[in-house]
Symmetry: C2
Subunit: 153 residues, 2 copies
């Protein structure tokens, strides 16, 4: 039975045959592989920064100073994860931390001059990473894919 037939069955809630379960046809598995491929392309172009670190810098460039938690929300990282990312960016002098004057719970994060330079310099590379990641698709396919992927995310 083809992958398409299996998917159709699945969506229509027909009774599936366990013999027809194939890992390599499952969204989750392919999603994981596509993500892996992208990370690999990213690393080939930007070796000294990870995608999450880049995301933090890029978002700080957009929104300016924010709290660590708020930044995490903006780039889809939980509090524990964002802390590690910010710690490492701080250790490299790309971001600086300060206390919120009014709300003493908050830890404000902002780009340093060096961090701003870095993100501006990296954005053209990031465009190339996006281009290369999408290279297997035609322009029309890219438009379709991005629309559907956004629905899933």
């Amino acid at each position: 039975m083809s992958a398409e037939e299996n998917l159709l069955k699945l969506v229509e809630s027909e009774e599936p045959d366990d013999q027809d379960y194939h890992l390599q046809e499952q969204v989750g598995f392919i999603l994981r592989k596509a993500h892996q491929r992208h990370v690999s392309i990213f690393a080939a172009h930007i070796g000294d920064l990870t995608p999450p670190q880049f995301a933090a810098l890029a978002k700080l460039r957009d929104v300016g100073e924010t709290s660590q938690n708020q930044l995490g929300t903006l780039i889809a990282m939980d509090a524990a994860t964002v802390k590690g990312v910010i710690d490492r960016l701080k250790a490299r002098g790309l971001v600086e931390l300060s206390k919120h004057e009014v709300d003493k719970r908050r830890l404000l994060v902002n780009l340093t001059a060096e961090g701003r330079d870095a993100i501006e310099r990296l954005i053209p590379l990031a465009r190339e990473i996006t281009r290369e990641t999408l290279a297997p698709l035609s322009a029309k396919e890219i438009a379709t894919f991005m629309k559907l992927l956004a629905k899933l995310a």
Copy 2:
């Protein structure tokens, strides 16, 4: 400028404006979020096994006994990662290890009876996970999306 216009520019290698770089429109970022969402759906249905652990069991069910490295290749994990996954499955009695008689470098992995029971029991849940992950899309969109995603992975 719209996301679509930016993508078109990018694909056609026109000069982009750095002001128009938006993290939330980049494939990598959305791919990461879609993957996160899937993992979360997976955890809600199968709490005592991770997607990589499930993948290892499902693939062993397909192919039977294989070497650890070969299994890693089949489920897209490098040697270091697959070792950890197999170690944990072994600790739980779901797989068993043995030495290859001829090629003494190889470590053979196979399902135990318990492991086989587990994967058979979990496959219906995995179908439901796939269904729920794809729920935001129509049947037609699913077919399109899976085709394009496969091209990227």
